[in-house]
Amino acid sequence: MKSARRKAIVGKVIVYVILFLLAAFMIVPFLWMLSSSIKSDREVFQMNPFVWIPKNPRWNNYVEIWKRMDFTRYIGNTALLTVVVTFLQLLTSSFAAYSFAKLHFKHKDKLFLAYIATIAVPWQVYMVPQFIMMSNVFHLNGKLTAMICLQAFSAFGVFMMRQFYMGIPDELCEAARIDGMSEYMIYLKIMLPLSKPSLATLTIFTFVATWNDYLGPLIYLTPNKANWTIQLGIKNSFIGQYSSQYGLLMAASVVSLIPVLIVFLILQKNFVEGVASTGIKG
């Protein structure tokens, strides 16, 4: 017994040592961002691996970023975009995924493959036709709606949710069907509550992708400064033709990262054993 306990303790210690080493390795870029955000541009460029806290830290960079661009507005735009996209994505993806995972209809597999296949096509290839369509047919150039339309109906979400639903035993649905539940009720009453971890995952991914997106806003929103997002604002304000202000850029990046981290920290609580397993036995 005693040796077993000792073994357990040793195991724990090893786990923690590994965790701390890994964490140190992972957190370096964040420290670098923090450190650069209080440096002057020259100091950032010098890239001295031993100077993490500059002689004269420029805390002023964090004040300056609000003056140098319309940061509040960009945050507002990005937040609006992210919330709407995430909501639509969750709703439509989980809905469609239920059908792909638990219902039967002809050509299901082929339709599903068509979904996955489009993920494999790099955006750079269909960006121009898409842009011409969006601006000439839908007249959405420069509007936030354009970004919502493009990002809210991704195949990625459907694919991911389908995979999680696949893991839920079919017997659960069958039993409910025999009880006379409609498919919509099964989705609402059984599937949704069981898929909390995967919904959390999709929320995190969609949130991060929309929040940090640069290429989409670059193509669709650049001409309309009032609709710029954070990433667009940061890059266009601090990266210049001949000189860039990396200190300010990093300060703004640190600020823009905070909401992402908060969302992650809150949502990861859903990854707790037992949330999904209760009731699965059916």
């Binding site: 020259r42 010098q46 890239m47 050509h107 121009v128 001409p223 890059k235 266009n236 990266i239 001949y242």
Partner: protein, 462 residues
């Protein structure tokens, strides 16, 4: 059955899209023809008004309110956009210039994409580089300006030969308003410390190489790099085009060899920083020069205003790099001093401009002598380098005081870093790529040049 239905539906949809795509484009040929007719019509009216009086010419649209949408980049960091807008609006109170900032990092991509959707998004566009210019011309998104130019009697020789290098089948689609040319920046303190004479305005490459070797020192703690070459290919291989005989469009590049040898030898001897390290560490040339351990650096004239403003604001330590000056580019044996590389920024009229005459009038202003004055006053080099503009720049507060620096601004022959050719974008990227391969040691000089000859030869002989 269903499958076929689905497929045909998709095809139908895509055909609709194709049609709208084509529909949008099928108008392009007509619009490209249209300008000639409208231009000639309007030409007659402009010609008439020119004859009538010169004051009306400044207001081509006869006083009605006009708004011109102008595509630019870096509005907040670059003072001349607003200065040009204000100067023009002051003269033409019926015109409003609307600046649309597309950011600098992806400017040409965003601009070309926007114009693919709809050419009327902008009336006037700034053209950042020659590959981008080639794209815009080939996509039929900017107007040929020849008719306007001949009507307005513009003397293209004022541009010092730059416009000849951007002709497309004998036509000109943009006028340059900014022209940066390459000079040699040097740090006087380092030369003083080493007891070596300053660089002069008339140096051959051998003299330059010798000087770089003399001034550098590897003493621990106070090491000095005699020269510094930024990672762009312009900084190294384009020494080769300064003799006026060779061009990057020629398809054979053996003339690069002596210059690659000179710089790779310098690198091997520790005279300059290694290309690979620069690329990995991302060391910016401004940080290198302002760090006070680089004696000479070849760079574009845009860096002059960067130096001046950063020294004034205290961002650069004046004890490290405050005592700087400029000299003319070194030259090959038997070639006139003052031959250098240039990069032009142009301005053009969009084919979708709602009021092309008004747009042209603005283009004429910006690229003309009035625009040149505004550019010089904001510390930038106008494409029309009048002696007045040169005086304004050399008397800027913070510009090096010695006579030689002032004289270094005189350019005898200007060779564009990238002149126009049909496939210039492709040629440019191939040269960039093999330049990287040679400099990083992935290929020997001979292998790299052979690969350039092979790849670009294929394009040119196509």
């Amino acid at each position: 059955m269903k499958k076929r239905k689905f497929f045909s539906a998709v095809m139908a949809c895509s055909m609709v899209l194709a049609l709208t795509g084509c529909g949008g484009n099928s108008t392009t040929p007509t619009t490209t023809q249209a300008p000639t007719t409208t231009a000639s019509q309007e030409t007659t009216t402009t010609a008439a008004t020119t004859e009538a009086s010169t004051t009306t010419q400044a207001q081509p649209s006869g006083g009605e309110a006009v708004t011109l949408k102008w595509a630019i980049w870096d509005q907040d960091a670059t003072p001349y956009w607003i200065a040009l807008k204000d100067a023009y609006e002051e003269k033409n109170d019926n015109v409003t210039i609307e600046l649309i900032d597309l950011g600098s990092s992806d400017y040409m991509t965003v601009l070309a994409t926007q114009l693919s959707g709809d050419t009327s998004t902008f009336d006037v566009v700034t053209v950042k580089d020659v590959p981008g210019y080639a794209t815009l011309v080939q996509k039929n998104t900017i107007e040929p300006l020849d008719d306007y130019i001949s009507k307005a009697n513009i003397d293209l020789s004022l541009y010092g030969g730059a416009t000849d290098q951007i002709m497309v089948d004998g036509k000109l689609y943009q006028l340059p308003f900014r022209n940066d040319f390459w000079v040699l920046f040097y740090n006087k303190d380092l030369f003083d410390k080493a007891g070596v004479e300053y660089p002069t305005n008339d140096m051959t490459f051998e003299q330059y190489d010798a000087l770089a070797r003399q001034v550098s020192s590897s003493d621990f703690g106070s090491s000095v790099y005699g020269a510094h070459y930024h990672t762009w290919r312009s900084a190294v291989q384009l020494f080769g085009v300064l003799d006026g005989e060779h061009s990057i469009l020629s398809g054979t590049y053996d003339f690069f060899k002596p210059y690659y040898e000179m710089i790779l030898n310098q690198e091997a001897d520790g005279i300059c920083r290694s290309f690979t390290n620069l690329k990995t560490e991302g060391l910016h040339y401004s940080a290198a020069f302002s760090g006070g351990d680089v004696a000479m650096m070849n760079m574009g004239s845009w860096f002059i205003s960067t130096m001046i403003s950063n020294l004034q604001s205290g961002d650069y330590d004046s004890s490290l790099c405050g005592n700087w000056a400029i000299a003319k580019y070194p030259h090959a044996e038997g070639v006139e001093a003052g031959s250098t590389l240039g990069t032009i920024t142009g301005i053009a009229v969009s084919t979708g401009a709602s009021n092309k005459d008004a747009a042209w009038d603005f283009v004429e202003f910006v690229s003309g002598t009035e625009g040149a004055k505004v550019m010089a006053e904001t510390g930038n080099f106008p494409a029309i380098m009048t002696s007045e503009a040169m005086d304004i720049i050399s008397s800027l507060d913070g510009f090096p005081q010695d006579e030689q620096s002032k004289a270094a601004l005189e350019v005898s022959n200007l060779y564009l870093e990238v002149p126009y050719a049909e496939n210039v974008s492709e040629i440019n990227s191939i040269l960039d790529s093999y330049h990287s391969s040679i400099m990083s040691g992935e290929m020997t000089i001979d292998e790299g040049i052979a690969a350039m000859n092979d790849a670009i030869g294929k394009i040119i002989n196509k």
